[in-house]
Amino acid sequence: MARAQSVVHAALEDMLHLADSALVLGQRNAEWCGHGPVLEEDIAMANISLDLIGQARLLYQHAAAIMADGSTEDSLAYFRDPQDFRNYTLLELPHHGPLAGTAAAERDYATTIVRNFLYSALMVLRWDALQQSPDAQLAAIAAKSLKEVRYHLRHARDWLVRLGDGTEESHTRTQAALDHLMPYTAEFWADADTATATLQADWEACVDDALDEATLKRPAPGGHLSRGKHGQHSEHLSYLLGEMQSLARQHPGATW
């Protein structure tokens, strides 16, 4: 009984990790809505966010059904605090490097693109694997999400090459974004097992191939290991959630 409970608990943690990751990146990328560098990218980023938030909703609904304790997709998204969130730290970081000013003033599209590339490449592989999940609903969500994240990867990879192999300015900024963000991907592989080892090899190959085409240099591995998946977040998540959750918390149960 205790063993069965811990299996369910682990599956739920994984589902919340997937859902939180999708929601947090969806919310972060939606900051470009109305502020995109060009109209087409403004629209692209809003559409990608829509996909991610849609995936998060399906996962939260499924998690809530398993929890069967009165939780809903809304309570999971809007009424949990930062330390309860299980997203990768990478996804909550603002759209700028470590030394810029406020997030709003210093949005850098290279940072957005590099992050979307690193994460989409991972999720194409993870959703593909999750299509074989014994949990039929999770497998169904994975099959849908895979179709969407392929377009996200295609979009991010094209822009990575365009910016990396672009002007001196775009190359410098994309390289800086890569140097800043790459260490956060170590978290993808921190809880390694045999399944993730194959995944990692495929991911590394995809990343190296794209970086090569984009004339970007991969930074040396090492440094701080982020632990967002375990609920230890950067300060940036609190601000992101503060903005996202304030309306629902001020007007709980509101409908319109």
Partner: protein, 180 residues
Amino acid sequence: MNLQDTPNHLLVERVWSVLEQVPDPEIPVVSIRELGILREVNALADGSLEVVITPTYSGCPAMGQIEDDVRAALATHQLAAVVVTRLAPAWTTDWITAPGRDKLRTFGIAPPHTVPTPHADSGGRNVLHFVRKAAMAPAVACPHCGSPNTTETSHFGSTACKALYKCLDCLEPFDYFKPY
């Protein structure tokens, strides 16, 4: 004839014919049946009706509207059904019917190509390779002048399910319904 006395298969047929008229909220020239969103109509053992719909994209904001439209269309014919949203099998643009494709083209949206089939033992490298292959998409014919001489302006158009294209001959911009 009293509804209670209608045999199940006739009732199901009637629901199909009513729902055939329900337009997609975002692209109203095609119906939800032509788009492949309407999957099943079932008469349940207890005599009630069940309508199964499937979302196009996970975040499709039209799903709630489609559910309401299905109920409203049935209500105008004194019919009622439980509307169920099902995710598997995942919706694909391959389900858009031939008349649906023609209607999209007439409306100015280039209909989707057939979804390229991933390598049989999909997974890992193959699934990533597929992304590259999809990037080398076949030519998309302009829905206005029919020219294959077109170029992609943006991967994402007015909705997540479309890409933005431009015709290099008649110079008209247009939406391309992406294979999904």
